[in-house]
């Protein structure tokens, strides 16, 4: 029983982390038609910055570090969008290759700065002890991660559906040219959405820290998961990213626990099935 409880919570927590990664990816893709392959690297960069902040000083708690690191990564994302991707507007292959190049640069820079050894991120002491309920132990931090992911999902939903900025983003997703024609500042919007997506990924990296820690190769571990999530859920759909994240969270966690050798194959089964029957993904409208 305890096994199932723990694994279920692990699945939910991984699903939550994947959502922090995939939501930004799908927002950027939806608006800009750009597959941002730096997303895994930005997640890792966030994790390293957070781990560094927490290691070197006592000023920050985990949440402060997550916010600060998210801001720093958002800045990196904004620079990337303005300085590189802007030069390649309309050339989607060029943009993908440029993001791939930047991903290599970021991940190698992390290796250069922080070295090859994983940097652990301590669980906040108030959340380190499990909650006991009905004779079972529930790891508190994982519950908190799920709550954070739900909060972020809610915030993104409110932002997109209930604010003026969100209405502009939705207009841009639906018809970029028409949105520009009616006076929506699409160019500024691109930068804003890129910063937002990068920032959520960076903060996600810190929040993932106590579970995954910061290590070289974190980017290569996370990017495929994010890709599988968005292909599964529908590449331009936030709901799809949400549902997809939790499906992959469960499949990956239980796959690893029950059939460790073949976890990667099992991981990829839902994606094959969905692509075979619904190439645009579960909730997508757009065929990528």
């Amino acid at each position: 029983m305890q096994f199932w409880v723990i694994q279920t919570l692990n699945s939910l927590a991984l699903g939550g982390l994947l959502f922090l990664l995939a939501s930004g990816f799908s927002l950027i893709f939806g608006l800009m038609r750009l597959a941002n392959l730096t997303h895994g690297a930005l997640f890792m960069l966030g994790a390293y910055i957070g781990a560094n902040l927490l290691r070197d000083s006592d000023t920050f708690n985990l949440w402060g570090a997550a916010i600060l690191s998210g801001l720093a990564v958002a800045l990196v994302g904004g620079l990337l969008e303005r300085l590189v991707l802007r030069q390649l507007a309309g050339n989607s292959l060029g943009q993908v290759l440029a993001t791939l190049g930047v991903a290599f640069i970021i991940s190698d820079a992390c290796l250069l700065i922080w070295g090859g050894d994983p940097i652990p991120v301590p669980t906040p002491s108030s959340l380190a002890r499990p909650i006991f309920f009905a004779g079972l132990a529930f790891p508190t931090y994982r519950l908190v991660v799920v709550c954070v992911a739900l909060l972020v999902a809610l915030a993104l939903y409110v932002l997109l559906e209930r604010t003026r900025l969100g209405a502009m983003i939705r207009a841009g997703v639906d018809d970029r040219e028409m949105a520009r024609a009616v006076g929506i500042p699409i160019s500024a919007l691109f930068t804003a959405v890129f910063c937002l997506g990068a920032g959520v990924a960076g903060a996600g990296g810190v929040i993932a820290g106590p579970i995954l820690s910061a290590y070289p190769g974190l980017d290569a571990d996370m990017l495929p998961l994010a890709l599988i999530v968005v292909i599964l859920g529908g590449i331009d759909s936030l709901v799809g990213a949400f549902i997809g994240s939790f499906i992959i969270g469960f499949v990956y966690t239980f796959g690893t626990a029950l059939l460790p050798d073949l976890a990667y194959v099992i991981l990829f089964l839902p994606m094959i099935i969905v692509i075979a029957f619904r190439p645009q993904g579960l909730f997508g409208r757009l065929q990528a």
Binding site: F29, R33, A35, V84, Q87, L88, N91, S92, L93, G94, V96, L97, A98, L100, G101, V102, A103, F104, I105, S107, D108, A109, L111, L112, A220, L223, P224, L227, I228, V230, I231, I235, P260, D261, L262, A263, Y264, V265, L267, F268, M271, I272, I275, A276, P279, Q287, A288
Partner: protein
């Protein structure tokens, strides 16, 4: 006429090259040939099919693993193992093609990337079959006509022969009616469909053909290194191939070869002075995409034509 002379001269230089060079350079040339076969096979998709794959290392890695596995576990000799590996790679390419070609453009790219990451994960995790992080080794290089390809020069000639065969086969494929329809599906898929071509089938067959030559480069790789590690399946490996194609010039026959020369020399030569190959790879990627997006071969051809035009006029 002048072109024929040039080609014959180039071939002659390539053949006698090992007599004048040290072992280091011969080995470097062998590595370039392997990378060139890999890049040419990827160019079929990227350049002629308009299908940018970020998972082409799947075929290189899979063929190499399949070959190593057949040698060590089934006791096959290297060429029989290679034949078996190529058949398996064809099947894998057919299967991956069915999945990846549900999409085109960015979707195709992401699916191929995800598929190759699955193989990478398997190579790492399924240690019972793949030896995991230790990689797989084979005891020796193959024996061709009773001659062990163990020294640098004989392996180079072997690789050169295979590369020339690959070059001719791919050039014939591109020059054929089928190759023309492939380029048609790249430029005008809807018109091609309206003309009665089965666009999906054209792409799928090309995907399999590209997978086959990717597998051949994998065989050269395992014969040369006598070792295969999961990193050969990683995204950097696919990206190096894609960089060769883009840097040299996608959709030209010479482009991927020139790109492979550039990438292998950068990787082997420059990396012996600086440690950061991945960062360099990223920077070169960025520079090529930003400044020479059409690639070196078409770029220099353009400059050459302009210069000749200027001297005549």
């Amino acid at each position: 006429m002048r072109k024929t002379v040039l080609i014959v001269a180039l071939l002659a230089v390539l053949v006698v090259f090992p007599f004048f060079m040290g072992e280091f350079y011969i080995n470097l040339a062998s590595q370039i040939l392997i990378a060139a076969v890999f890049a040419m096979s990827l160019n079929l998709l990227v350049g002629y099919g308009g299908l940018s794959s970020l998972g082409h290392a799947s075929f290189l890695g899979f063929a190499a693993y399949a070959c190593a596995w057949s040698i060590t576990r089934l006791g096959f000799d290297p060429f029989a193992a290679g034949a078996l590996a190529l058949v398996a790679t064809l099947l894998l390419a057919a299967f991956f093609g069915v999945i990846a070609l549900r999409a085109t453009g960015l979707g195709f790219m992401m699916i191929t990337l995800a598929l190759s990451q699955v193989l990478w994960g398997l190579a790492y995790r399924w240690a019972a079959v793949t030896n995991g992080d230790n990689g797989m080794s084979i005891p020796s290089r193959p024996r061709l006509f009773g001659l062990l390809l163990d020294d640098a020069a004989s392996f180079y000639w072997f690789a050169l022969g295979v590369t020339l065969i690959a070059f001719v086969c791919i050039a014939v494929f591109i020059g054929s009616a089928f190759g023309a329809s492939l380029q048609g599906t790249r430029d005008q898929p809807r018109r091609m469909a309206a003309l009665g071509h089965d666009v999906w089938m054209v792409r799928w067959l090309t995907f399999i053909y590209a997978g086959f030559w990717g597998g051949v480069s994998g065989l050269l790789y395992i014969y040369y290194n006598k070792y295969i590690h999961p990193t050969s399946l990683a995204i950097t490996s696919s990206a190096e191939g894609l960089l060769s194609v883009i840097a040299g010039g996608a959709g030209t026959m010479a482009g991927p070869v020139v790109g492979a020369v550039l990438v292998v020399i950068l990787k082997n030569y420059v990396s012996s002075y600086i440690e950061r190959w991945n960062m360099l790879l990223g920077i070169v990627f960025l520079l090529i995409v930003l400044f020479v997006p059409e690639g070196i071969v078409p770029g220099s051809r353009r400059i050459f034509l302009r210069l000749r035009g200027a001297s005549k006029g």
